[in-house]
Structures are given as structure tokens and as C-alpha cells.
Subunit: 332 residues, 2 copies
């Protein structure tokens, strides 16, 4: 079973997932599923994946339009208990949790950004269904929804998919954001993300676009070139609060941002993550969920990883300008 | 001039270095200096680099064995003042600091790990000379010494070199380590790194090797496969405290670790960083400087960057075993 281990100096939890390939030669090989090779996510290959957790099918159609399955090589496993224990000065617990794959479309040779808006809306609704289902498991504290697009961004299978990791701890980045946002709220009695939106919408220089419910912006202290955040205009602490027309509005915004990034940067590899409040919490006044989209353009990553010290060669104001000017066929 | 900007939510400072290439097309091109192309770091090409800051030459020999120069495309600049200012809810300051390159050897087609121990000792001594020189600048708070080896680890020039960035703030990772170490000290009145060494040397399962002054170990909560730390056996809070035979002992340990990584993992790209106490501080009882060596083996990085949530497929106990068994021609 995989294992959580805590760094005794800075408190960060790491998953040691020994089932996933580990010998030195496994890294040398590092096979990448070529287009044209056998794809376990394609229609007709359902028997090669673990049992389906959720799917969207059109009425009377036997084929799925979207499918959620457990990850065949999970970094966390859903059975068992935490087994928290010390090992001298160290702390560990069992790798309890869930690791799921959202297969976004039956089409192998496409990308999320190329899908029609209703199909992207399906993806967001599937995130929401799985989120609310996993929330019922009282052992879980956080659901991380993310996507790796392109080999350089960590995707090992080309077929368009996103991932979900549900875990019994709140990850470090989320904790830091929550703490920083709370500090601001304790002092000002305002949500810092709401403050950011107010200032950005007033100044305009870092706003890529907005629609009725969302704003896409280049953050003031962007760590990466063309880093883009999608933030709901109304205050909501959790992705769970998304409902009704919000799904369509977010799908339109996400489509628009992905198309602009694809045009401006020639289909870059990218990652996105949904930053949201921990599970098992009431709506909180100081945190504001959002999506962070990060094109993977630079290779100067190893050092930044290790030091937490980022150098960004593209001022966010210029990135905003390039993204605004990127040609889109329509405003979705 | 480059600029520091602070993320208003989590307090992280980022350098926005617009002089370094920034238009979308600059990322598409991303040229890598091929072996055989013109190299500004090779002997005879000194006029292509900024003015030398330090060099090691053998007596009576006109050619240098090692050379330190300012980075031609610095992420920070040494002239001026901080100019701290607010921009609404945001905070910024001028990109004051130093960015230097340590050219480790005149030889272009070699690697640091392939140099003889005395040449590696020269590199460590050059780090120390520049560290203590920059410490005299009262505006600076931290010196980050690091190396990117191989294109995948962020090196843009093949000729063996390390880098130094001196800055007017303490970077986030260092702050977190200092805070965590202080928490342990406040409670236990012991240095946590000394505690780690005691437990690791007693258990043995994560100790790769030791010599008279240093221990190389796979940390209990390794974020990356084959992550290896080199820790001084005696308590020292700053790299500045390294002296006398310590340079030779560290050079031997670093050589041994780099050769083992090269053999076990087939010359992997890697990063290393020296983690040390901030400048302008007296020796502190709770912090312990060390080197962190991180082979760049996995591509699943983008997501980890963004979330701060690491999945490591190689248990450190197994990495230790592979590195111990790696063939070295001698124990350096």
C-alpha cells in the first residue's frame, strides 16, 4: 500500500507510491504511449480499465460521451484506515484515498480545448459529481482536481483525460493559501480574492477576459509565463458551490482561455488545478475557489521546485496582452 | 530592471525578469547550445563574458582553472536600492541582488562529477569566496548556490557551471525550513537535523555513505526518486562555517555521490542546491546547512509544482540500496 510520509523539518506530506515503477531502469525507459498505439481509454477498450465509477451517455446510445474510472496505478487506495504512527522522529500514515481518471471524450485524437462547450461542461459536471460523492467519505479532507496536457506536462497517455486525487490531509499549497487568505480576512474583514478581482477589474491591465460569472487574469506575481487564473466573480469558497448556469459559464471561459493559449503559444503542454476549500467545512468567508492554468514553456524547473524561488521571464501584463490579441473564432 | 513581486495570498516573492526573453515565440524556439557550437565559457572566449569576479590560476600559468563571472542575463542586478512600494493590495521591490556563474573547469566536454577531487574542492572554495564577499553587502539577506546539470534540469549551456543568486529577501523554502527547525528546537532544545543524523546513522537503511565529516542520505520523506542530501556531521548553521579540511571532505563526498548517481541512473540530469542560514545572522543553534541533490527523472512535474503535493515512486530505502551498490572505481 502507498504511504504518506511527513518531512520532519517543514511538515510537508509526500506520497511514497512504490507500486508505480521504481527501479533505476524504469526511469531510463519511461515509455510514452505513442499516438496510434493501444489506448485503454478508447471506446471498446473498457475491459482494460477498472470498473466505471460514473459515465455520461446520451439517451438510447450505448456508447459513453464521458467516463470516470479508478486509476489503474493509483497513488492512493480507498480501502483501510489511516494507521498514523511515528517512526522515531518521523511520522507516517497509510496511503488512504482515491485516485480517479476522468476520460473527457471518446475521441482519442483531440484535446479538451478543442471540444465543444457542452462537452467541456460535461467534464466540469463530472468533476462535480465525483467531488460531492467523495465528500461523503468522512475520512477524506481534500479533493484535488487537475489535468496534465501533453507529455512535457506529465501526461503518460494521449487520450484526453483529467485526474482526481482525494486525500485524508490538506495539501501544503492549499494550507498556505488558506492561511494567507485568513490573515487578510482577520485584518480587513474582506476576502483577498474578492479584493484582487476588484483591483484587477478596475485596472484592467491583467484581465484577459471576463464573462457573466468568471474572470480570467494573469496574476500579479505569476510564477510562470502565461500563468492564467480563472476566478468566479461571486464569492464562493468551494468548487462544490458551482451550480446551474455556472457550469456553462465556466465551460465557456475555460474553452476561451485554452483556445487563446493554444493560439498564442502553439498548443503548449499545460497543467491546470482547481484550488478549493477543504472538504468537511462550511462555506468560509475568507477563501475563494479558482482554477490555475499553467502552460509548461520553460525547462528551468528543477531548481525552482527545490528552492521554491521562481523567476518568470514574461511580465503578466505582457502575457495578458498576447492572450487578448490571440485570434479566437468566436467568443465562446 | 527586474522586479520582485509578492503574491498577496501566500506571501511568496517572484522575480519578474523581463530582460530574459519573453515573447511567445521565444518559448517555441528555446535554442539549446549544442555541443560543438560556440561556447562563451571556454578558454579564449573570455571577452564574450562580463568582467571576471574571481578566478583560480596555477602559479605561472596564464590560463584559469576556474572562473566566476556575472551572469550576462542576470535575473537580479547589483546597482540601486530596493524601492519597496505598494500597488494597491500588491507589494513590489526592485530586483536588487547578484547573479553569478561559476565556470567549474576549462574543459567543455566534461561534467562536475567527472572532475578530480581537487578540482571539485576548487569549486566549493569558489562558492565560499563569493559567499563571504557578498555577505559584506548589507542589502543582501540570502545567497542561493545551485547547479543545473543537463538540459532537462534547466541548463542552457553545456559547459560545466554552477550559479549563485544573492538576494535582499529570504526565499520561501528557506523560511519554511528555518521556521520548522525552530519549532523543533523550541520544543526539544535540539537541532532537528542533528536528530535526523542520529536516527539515520543508528538505523542505517537510508544512509548512502559517510566520511569523516559528511553523511549522504536518502531523506525519509523524499519528494523525488533518488533525492540525496549531504549533511555535515557537526552542527553548523551556515555554509560559511565550512573551513580547512571540510572543503576536501565535502569534495570527496560530492564526487562519490555524483559518481554513484551517474552509474545507477545513467548520467541523469540533476539539480543541487545548498540550503543555508540567511546572511547577517549569528550562528543559530536550530538550523543546519546541507546540500540537496535531485536527479531529474520524472516528467510529472508540472502538477507537483503547482500543488506542492509530491508523489514519489521510489521508496528512499530502495534508492539508498541502489546507490550503495552502484559501482565506483574507488571510495574518493
Amino acid at each position: 500500500m502507498p504511504e504518506f510520509r511527513q518531512d520532519p523539518v517543514n511538515g510537508r506530506w509526500v506520497i511514497i507510491a512504490s507500486e508505480r515503477g521504481r527501479r533505476p531502469t524504469d526511469f531510463e525507459a519511461a515509455p510514452h504511449k505513442a499516438r496510434g498505439g493501444f489506448c485503454p481509454f478508447c471506446p471498446g477498450h473498457e475491459s482494460y480499465t477498472p470498473k466505471e465509477l460514473y459515465a455520461i451517455r446520451s439517451d438510447g446510445d450505448a456508447t459513453w460521451r464521458l467516463r470516470v474510472i479508478p486509476n489503474k496505478f493509483p497513488v492512493l487506495e480507498i480501502e483501510g484506515d489511516l494507521g498514523r504512527a511515528g517512526e522515531g522522529i518521523y511520522d507516517r500514515m497509510n496511503g488512504l484515498g482515491a485516485h480517479e481518471v476522468i476520460v473527457e471524450t471518446p475521441g482519442h485524437d483531440t484535446t479538451l480545448g478543442a471540444l465543444e462547450v457542452p462537452a467541456i461542461e460535461d467534464v466540469l459536471r463530472a468533476y462535480h459529481v465525483r467531488y460531492t460523492d467523495l465528500k461523503r467519505d468522512g475520512r477524506l479532507r481534500y479533493v484535488l482536481l487537475f489535468k496534465n496536457e501533453g507529455e512535457a506536462a506529465g501526461a503518460s497517455i494521449d487520450h484526453p483525460h483529467s485526474q482526481l486525487i482525494a486525500m485524508p490531509i490538506v495539501p501544503r499549497r492549499a494550507k498556505e493559501e488558506l492561511a494567507g487568505a485568513k490573515r487578510h480576512f482577520d485584518y480587513k474583514e474582506r476576502c483577498i480574492f474578492c479584493d484582487i478581482l476588484r483591483q484587477e477589474l478596475a485596472e484592467g491591465v491583467r484581465v484577459v477576459l471576463e464573462n457573466e460569472a468568471f474572470v480570467a487574469l494573469s496574476p500579479y506575481a505569476s510564477r510562470f509565463p502565461f500563468e492564467t487564473w480563472i476566478v468566479p466573480k461571486v464569492h464562493q469558497s468551494s468548487f462544490e458551490a458551482l451550480s446551474g448556469g455556472g457550469f456553462r459559464a465556466l465551460a465557456r471561459m475555460l474553452k476561451n482561455v485554452l483556445v487563446r493559449l493554444a493560439r498564442a503559444l502553439d498548443e503548449p503542454p499545460y497543467n491546470y488545478m482547481i484550488h478549493t476549500a477543504p472538504l468537511q467545512e462550511e462555506p468560509i468567508p475568507y477563501y475563494h475557489w479558482h482554477m490555475e492554468v499553467i502552460p509548461k514553456l520553460t525547462k528551468v524547473a528543477g531548481f525552482e521546485w527545490g528552492s521554491g524561488f521562481y523567476v518568470n521571464p514574461t511580465p503578466p501584463e505582457e502575457a495578458t496582452q498576447f492572450l487578448r490579441e490571440a485570434r479566437v473564432d468566436q467568443e465562446y
